[in-house]
Amino acid sequence: MKHRLKASQYAILLTVMLTASVGDTLLSRGMAQVGAVDLHHLGLLFRALANPYILSGIVLLIGFFASYMTALSWADLTFVMPATAFGYVVVALLSRFWLHEHLSVYRWAGILLIVCAVGFVAGGPSRTEHPTDADLDVMDCGAGR
């Protein structure tokens, strides 16, 4: 069974890819400003909520969860999974070209593998299902007529 994706559904997958990685990066940057939190200073967590990076990160992660669940409502888990993994690639590329960090050969190889994985899955159907026993019974009945 083949299902073609609409432009809006591709936009949802793009949102899944970008929001998780950018959200995590914002949280990381915000927590670096807030400082280390330990059991004796849990109040810092509430102060962290006033940090604009943390707030933006939380909003993006809520957006990630909403778009991830929306994608799962019309696509297979094994179709959406590589899209979420693409977030790792976005983080690595952001760190290379925005933060000017050095990427080792291993990391470039990792990026290449994940990009290939997304390409493999994107070329196939978004939703598949094995025929259930009930479906097979219906098909048998149809063949008998």
């Binding site: 669940m69 019309w74 094994t78 999974m81 790792y88 290449l112 994985a117 598949t128």
Partner: protein, 133 residues
């Protein structure tokens, strides 16, 4: 001897974290598949129209069970990070979760995980490990 015991404990924690993530993601995927395309559940135009999908998702017991597993996964990961280095725990749990999700999707969600998807899962799992290098 102590080293192997610590290693066994570390890998048990990593497997536990991955198992909770797999259970959570599969339950959430099953719940969302059961609800169908969320666009069809919208009750009207504008932001109020999204109340229908939100209500439908939150009232699904399978979704609630999945969300509970994801919450447990979060705390299990925090516990694991207290005994295992992040450089091992993060790629190991992510890779095992991707592979386990593919197997669980085939077994429980009856997805057609063909050779192309298995290859993609394998590439993602190895790619995540390489990125953490």
């Amino acid at each position: 001897m102590l080293g192997s015991e610590t290693s066994l404990r570390a890998w048990s924690c990593i497997l536990g974290v991955a198992a909770l993530a797999i259970a959570g993601e599969c339950l959430i995927a099953a719940a969302m598949r059961g609800l169908g395309d969320l666009d069809h559940l919208r009750t009207g135009p504008g932001i109020r129209g999204y109340l229908g999908p939100v209500r439908a998702v939150l009232s699904s017991p399978i979704f609630v069970a999945g969300a509970l597993c994801m919450a447990l996964n979060f705390f299990a990961l925090l516990f694991t990070l207290s005994i295992v280095d992040l450089s091992l725990a993060a790629p190991a749990t992510a890779s095992l979760t991707y592979i386990g999700n593919a197997a669980a999707a085939k077994l429980f969600l009856r997805e057609d995980v063909d050779r192309r998807r298995w290859l993609a899962v394998l590439f993602v799992a190895v790619g995540v490990v390489l990125l953490a290098h």
